[in-house]
């Protein structure tokens, strides 16, 4: 049933690079049509006009890294009928979650001359560690067609169609010959969540896992395969410890290759 008023969309930023929210502005063909269907009520990167909540759909970018943000996300949840996280930061803690494996105080002292000016938490954590999340869209960055699909699904009261299988399926769909089998190029595709459209292999590069783990990935078996192709323990630690280092299956697999 068509609602009497336009649904209200809000976009929120936490620790991130702005790339996932930029994906919305990168929808050059859909943006104006989308704006006719929905009221972009709170999107600070794009507009200085802010309509007060509650909001029908909140898109949340970024991870929680400060005490202030850990409070703010609860407010965002209270204002939002549906809350969808967009991207690896909001869904797994992002590249900044590499601090979770180290001493953050030492990190601060490396970058800043006056560490006492910096307020930060010891860990970078996904939004779902703090509040209930209605849907998580993967990717570093997210895929903009998937973003349009998710917005459209929530506003029409249906489930988003974002297949949870591996990148391998996408290579098959687009007809890319397997880079691992054919060229011996190490690839994270077998354990990585689909959604990008298998870009890297189509550029003769192995997948580097920026969409994070698929449902039930067999990372151990893939590591063994990589090992046979010459990857060292430290290589394996680094490949699983990147943009989705905080996602459970990748975290565990990286720890299996620690010294």
């Amino acid at each position: 049933m068509k609602p009497a008023r336009k649904p209200k969309l809000a976009v929120w930023k936490f620790a991130s690079c702005d790339g996932c929210q930029l994906s919305l502005l990168d929808c050059e063909d859909e943006l104006l049509a989308l704006a006719q269907k929905i009221d972009i009520a709170n999107f600070m990167e794009a507009s200085s006009a802010v309509v007060r909540g509650p909001y029908d759909l909140s898109l949340v970018e970024g991870s929680i890294t400060t005490a202030h943000d850990a409070e703010r996300i609860h407010q965002v949840r209270r204002w939002s009928k549906f809350l969808v996280t967009i991207g690896a930061c909001a869904t797994a803690g992002g590249i900044q979650a590499l601090r979770n494996f180290k001493d953050v105080k030492e990190f601060v002292s490396i970058v800043y001359a006056r560490p006492e000016y910096i307020e930060t938490l010891n860990r970078s954590t996904p939004i779902s560690d703090h509040v209930r999340v209605d849907f998580e869209l993967r990717g570093c960055p997210i895929n903009k067609q998937q973003l349009v699909e998710v917005i459209s699904a929530f506003l029409n009261g249906r489930k988003p169609n974002t297949p949870p299988h591996s990148v391998c399926m996408e290579c098959k769909q687009r007809g890319t010959i397997c880079v691992m089998v054919a060229q011996g190029t190490p690839c994270l595709g077998p354990v990585t969540h689909a959604g990008c459209g298998a870009i890297c292999p189509s550029y003769a590069r192995g997948c580097y896992g920026c969409f994070g783990p698929m449902e039930s990935p067999n990372t151990e078996s893939l590591s063994r395969q990589w090992g046979e192709m010459g990857a060292t323990q430290s290589d394996l630690l680094r490949v699983f410890r990147s943009f989705n280092a905080g996602a459970e299956p990748f975290r565990k697999e990286s720890e299996a290759h620690e010294d």
Binding site: K13, C17, G19, L32, E45, K102, T120, P141, R205
Partner: protein, 429 residues
């Protein structure tokens, strides 16, 4: 004494989180602070122990608006450390992908973030209701920039095809040729953009800036050349840290940069234009002259015109590269790692982006330093506000606040880059 305080929670239409604090006593601005409270993400620290081959993919995540700039500075720094240089068609492809990012990023700023200020709209969506054809033109232009990045890099944001030594896969001539018609239309749209922006109302505001940019005798700068200024600086990129210093101030999570004796300096389109006018293509120079720009533009509000001239240049340059392109034999040259330190500075859309890495013999990163353009402009932005605000103190608070936001947006501040959104607090007494 009359006391008045204005607070705005957030400056909109900038990339990242920050605020402005202005203290006024007896109609005198006594303090200006550009506050950056974007949460720090510690890239320089987390790069330690990573491979040289990963730095460009990791640092691109500093900024989703200008990932190519991060990728370019990182790969050039690695190549510098290992004593190799990428030339010929591979270098041309690097210029081409940078053209794509300039077109995309500048168009985003000109049409979606900056123009609404001049035309009195809160955003581009509302602007589109009154000016649909203009906004459509902007969207087509932006899309053309993204088309270059997507073709060469695989996707617009955090593209995957760049590597140390070149690319994973080089395009064929036919593939690049698919961009030609779109870019010709974009070049026309860019020229119209220069005319459109030149007719906007600009406040009468000029300052004697210290401009800093890369300069190369034969080309408008992207990723190779010396660092020069209009005040006599002329250094190799490896001398950057001898001449520029960063300081950490309490109100910002971004480090402030200064040139020698604490001098503020200006990086980005105005600086590049002033220092490299002769390197623009004839078409871009002609458009600049028709728009009434002098060879040096000192009015930061007019950066919207200069940015448009640079969009035109980037379309023109992209077409030139595509026209002359012959696929290289190999998509990347071999780059064996060795112990050493590598330096690079490239021209991100917002200005120079400096990277320095120290590496061991396997090419593992021992330490890293990254200086993004917005942190270099912070001090200049504060000084602009200090001079600009007194002229408008008679305005109602809302109008004054809007003027201040506009003065900040002149710099297209990418605060995610500067490590780190804008909150305006007016403290009047």
């Amino acid at each position: 004494m009359k006391t008045k305080t204005i607070k705005v929670d957030y400056l909109a239409r900038v990339e990242g989180e920050g605020g402005v604090y202005i203290k006024v006593r007896d109609n005198q601005v006594v303090d200006v602070k550009l506050k950056i409270f974007e949460p720090p993400r510690f890239f320089e620290a987390l790069l330690r122990g990573r491979s040289f081959a990963e730095a460009h993919d990791i640092t691109s995540r500093i900024c989703g608006i200008c990932p190519i700039a991060y990728q370019m500075s990182a790969v050039h720094a690695m190549e510098d450390a290992f004593g190799v240089q990428v030339d010929g068609q591979l270098r041309a492809l690097r210029r081409l992908i940078y053209c794509g990012e300039w077109i995309e990023s500048h168009t985003l700023h000109v049409y979606m973030l900056h123009a609404p200020d001049f035309l009195g709209y809160p955003d581009v969506i509302r602007m589109a209701k009154d000016h649909p054809a203009i906004v459509q033109r902007g969207l087509h232009l932006k899309k053309a920039g993204n088309a270059i990045v997507t073709l060469l890099g695989g996707r617009e944001i955090h593209p995957v095809n760049v590597r140390v030594g070149g690319f994973y896969r080089a395009p064929s001539r036919d593939q690049l040729a698919t961009l030609t018609e779109q870019l010709k239309a974009a070049r026309d749209a860019a020229w119209e953009t220069v005319r459109w922006t030149a007719a906007m109302p600009f406040p009468d505001f000029e300052r004697d800036y210290t401009f800093v940019a890369i300069h190369h005798p034969d080309e408008y700068p992207f990723n190779r050349g010396r660092l020069v200024s209009n005040t006599g600086l002329d250094i190799g990129v490896n001398e950057y840290e001898v001449n520029f210093t960063e300081e950490h101030v309490a109100h910002s999570n971004a480090l402030h940069s200064t040139l020698r004796q604490q001098r503020a300096y200006f990086v980005g389109p105005l600086a590049r234009y002033a220092l490299n006018f002769n390197q623009l293509s004839p078409l871009a120079r002609q458009a600049a002259m028709e728009a009434g720009l002098e060879r040096v533009c000192r009015n930061p509000f007019k950066s919207i015109i200069v940015r448009s001239v640079e969009i035109l240049y980037a379309c023109d340059e992209a077409l030139r590269i595509i026209e002359q392109y012959q696929p290289p034999e190999k998509a990347a040259i071999d780059v064996p790692p060795r112990e050493g330190t590598g330096y690079a500075c490239t021209e991100a859309p917002r200005g120079i982006l400096y990277h320095r890495y120290r590496l061991d013999k396997e090419g593992t990163i021992l330490d890293a330093k990254i200086v993004p353009p917005t942190s270099q402009n912070q001090k200049t932005i504060e000084q602009d506000l200090g001079e600009f605000v007194p002229k408008f103190l008679n305005l109602p608070d809302n109008d004054l606040r809007w003027r201040c936001e506009q003065a900040v947006r002149n710099y297209d501040p990418c605060i995610s880059c500067a490590t780190h959104y804008l909150r305006l607090e007016m403290d009047r007494a």
